[in-house]
């Protein structure tokens, strides 16, 4: 019994949608950040599936670079969240609106 490629891609699509819903509907900045990680991982899964399907190593190299990027992004982003918390005493994105008013 083999798995159709479409099923793997569908799992990746569902994972991406879950991540987008987290970004849109959660107010806690840390959860929003975790949802972004979920979206990056959905893309990685699609890359790996197509890399296996075409028997091509390039997709896996791309995933390697995306992981490097995610690590850098998480470090900087969490530092920003800590900085915002230090100044405003909140981590809710609805409360961070001083540029709006």
């Amino acid at each position: 019994m083999v798995v159709p490629l479409m099923h793997v891609i569908t799992v990746a699509g569902l994972l991406f949608t879950i991540g987008v819903m987290g970004v849109l509907f959660r107010r806690n900045a840390i959860i929003v950040f975790m949802s972004i990680e979920i979206m990056l991982n959905a893309v990685n899964l699609a890359f790996i599936a197509f890399s296996r399907y075409h028997n091509d190593v390039n997709g896996q190299v791309f995933v390697f670079f995306i992981m490097t990027l995610a690590a850098a992004e998480v470090a900087v982003g969490l530092a920003i969240i800590i900085g915002v918390y230090r100044n405003l005493r909140t981590s809710y994105i609805t409360d961070i609106n001083s540029l709006k008013h």
């Binding site: 019994m1 083999v2 798995v3 159709p4 490629l5 479409m6 099923h7 793997v8 891609i9 569908t10 699509g13 569902l14 994972l15 991406f16 949608t17 879950i18 991540g19 987008v20 819903m21 849109l24 509907f25 107010r27 806690n28 840390i30 959860i31 950040f33 975790m34 949802s35 990680e37 979920i38 991982n41 990685n44 899964l45 790996i48 599936a49 197509f50 890399s51 296996r52 399907y53 028997n55 190593v57 896996q60 190299v61 995933v63 390697f64 670079f65 992981m67 490097t68 990027l69 690590a71 850098a72 998480v74 470090a75 900087v76 969490l78 530092a79 920003i80 800590i82 918390y85 981590s91």
Partner: protein
């Protein structure tokens, strides 16, 4: 790849990802996300991407999630209070649009990718090995590899600059 294992891992992955988004307690969300990444590593192993699978456990489930855990503990984040109706209406429309986009993309991809993934051992594949990925990284992608190292250095300096009170 083993079909039964694939569906088990995929189900657990999607379930724990939903738990991350729906749960009010950030601590539970982080633990669920670690579990989701472990399941994703299982999927990578099934897809015979061994190097990437190990990296997933080391970098994501290990390093990145520990960073999240530290920040949540540092900020002492309390569980969210339920606030129904606080989500603006247009966000629902964004959500619907995104779902439509993903469905259309899947339909488009589905036309081109009709085949199925080769079963384990069916077709000897070594593209996921450390050797194959390393060879590609250090020959064809040498310059991007160096730039990635530079980017990590910049991120390190930037993080220290942002997190330190007084330089």
């Amino acid at each position: 790849m083993s079909a039964a294992l694939f569906y088990i891992f995929a189900g657990l992955l999607l379930g724990s990802a939903l738990f991350v988004v729906l749960n009010r307690n950030p601590m539970y969300s982080i633990v669920a996300l670690v579990f989701a990444f472990a399941n994703l590593a299982g999927l990578y192993f099934l897809l015979e991407a061994y190097f990437i699978g190990v990296l997933q456990v080391l970098v994501y489930a290990g390093a990145i999630m520990v960073l999240f855990l530290f920040v949540v503990m540092l900020l002492n984040v309390q569980p969210d209070q339920p606030q129904l109706g606080v989500v603006p209406l247009e966000r629902w429309w964004y959500g619907v649009l995104v779902i439509l986009f993903v469905v259309l993309l899947l339909i488009l991809v589905g036309r081109g990718a009709q085949g199925s993934l080769p079963a384990a051992g069916d077709e000897a594949s070594s593209i996921g090995s450390v050797r194959a990925v390393g060879e590609a990284l250090f020959t064809k992608y040498l310059l991007p590899f160096e730039i990635a190292g530079l980017m990590l250095t910049v991120a390190l300096v930037g993080t220290v600059f942002l997190a330190k009170r007084r330089i």
